[in-house]
Amino acid sequence: MTSGKPLDGALFIPRFLLRTLLLAGVVLVFYQLLRLTAGPRLFPALPLVARRFSTLVLNGQLPYHILVSARRVFAGLFLSLLVAIPVAVAMSRFPKADKILSPLLYLVYPIPKVTFLPVLMLVLGLGDASKISMIFLIIVFQVIVSLRDALRALDRRAFQAVRAFGGGKLDVARHVVIPATMPALLSALRISGGTAVAVLFIAESFATEDGMGFFIMDAWSRVSYADLHCGVLALSLFGLGLFGLIDLAEWWLCPWQKPMH
């Protein structure tokens, strides 16, 4: 028996947690090694960091900054999907659209999007707009390229199978296009999501008063290394949550991929 969704479903979260705990163990050992080499001032004792972490969580500081960052990431993600999906569909369906948009895509896609940050801040200001636009720019090109290629690679015979049953365009979209391209879409989100969080950190370290980037940079300037490590931990937990969500979406939306794992 290679499939069995209920079994996979029951074990999905425990397995995920176990893997995470193992990895956390490795990180803690690494932290201790750094503490031994760089000294206890830069790397305060783990119990102290843990206590500080729980204080920052309970007084609402960390949750607030995480939520602010999350709002920016998800707004950027949502906007990029809103733009990337129709553009990718148009590029795969209409050769003319592909001809016009491809050069632009190839011109902008390889540029590290963080280089646009100063311009975005000048044009859109120091508020949320520039940060969300930054994330949008990081994700949108990755999704367009991946989705367009996945749409191009679709087996036309699958379309015929639906049409042979009298299905129209909506049926083709529902039974073929959406499920067949979903893995590529989620994979693009996974790849660009990591970069988006990393760049958001940089964006949030300029002239801002909230977000994880601000929290970490602020702790650094206050020479509060325990807070700094708490911020790094919170940011990595945020990344873990983001990837966990994408993995969960994949498990739910693309369950046929399980036997291949």
Partner: protein, 265 residues
């Protein structure tokens, strides 16, 4: 049941075949055979309504039968992202969506899927993904999916080519039961003459070159000048079968020789 009346098919300027005039009779198993590239698969697509003839027409004896044609492609066309049950249900889901995009699939459709899975002995595979199935299991799933929409005409492209010998025989027997058990008239495409003679009541032979049509509803191999010609088979009469096989092979060889001599300057 269907009359393909003086049909021609072309992709752009390339004519695949022309002057084809054949009838598919209800309840008989038809096998289309012929050399590679002569348009056998295109003929199935045409019958399924996926391709439009350049000239001529497809006349259905009963017009509403046009909506009850099912096609099983060569690789079975199962969707890897749907379970066996989901694949079988798909035709019914499309039928329901035709009545309204947001209509729910009724319980009766799910019950019908269950029944088909049981009848085709794949009920225990219901929640499996097609990638994990054997060739025979995929074939059964594809047949169940096709039968779910109550087809009167079941078109199958090379249905046995990817199967092991023992499963192949099993599936051939299943095919032969389709007209009586399910009321579906199968039209299969095959390149295996012995297989065609074993399962089919009637052969439709295709030649590579386009030519004037001629149908000979007799057992002497038909006219060798024809673009297509039909041969009646008697799969239950063993001696006749051997004789037939020789005749069909001879007819195809003659057609090939004629085509190649025509091609020479």
């Amino acid at each position: 049941m269907i009359h393909l009346r003086d049909v021609a098919l072309a992709y752009g300027t390339h004519t695949v075949f022309s002057g084809v005039d054949i009838r598919v009779e209800r309840g008989l198993i038809h096998a289309i055979i012929g050399p590679t590239g002569c348009g056998k698969t295109s003929m199935l697509m045409l019958m399924a309504g996926l391709l439009k003839p350049a000239t001529g027409s497809l006349v259905f004896e009963i017009e509403k039968d046009r909506n009850h044609v099912a096609l099983i492609p060569q690789d079975y066309g199962l969707f890897p992202w749907k379970t066996v049950g989901g694949n079988v249900l798909m035709g019914l889901e499309i039928a329901v969506a035709r009545q309204g995009v947001f209509r729910r699939v009724p319980a009766v459709a799910k019950a019908k899927t269950d029944l088909l899975l049981q009848e085709l002995r794949i009920h225990d595979l219901r929640d499996r993904w097609p990638l994990t199935l054997s060739g025979g299991q995929k074939q059964r799933t594809a047949i169940a999916r096709a039968l779910a929409v109550d087809p009167v005409l079941l078109l199958m492209d090379e249905p046995f080519s990817a199967l092991d010998a023992d499963i192949r025989e099993d599936m051939q027997n299943l095919l032969m039961e389709l007209p009586t058990t399910w009321g579906a008239t199968p039209v299969i495409v095959t390149h295996d003459i012995s297989e065609a003679l074993r399962v089919a009541d009637r052969l439709i032979l295709f030649r590579l070159q386009d030519n004037a049509h001629s149908i000979a509803n007799n057992s002497d191999g038909g006219s060798q000048d024809a673009a297509t010609f039909i041969v009646e088979c008697f799969p239950n009469e063993k001696t006749k079968k051997v004789e037939m096989e020789q005749k069909v092979r001879g007819a195809l060889r003659n057609a090939r020789d004629k085509d190649s001599s025509k091609a020479r300057p």
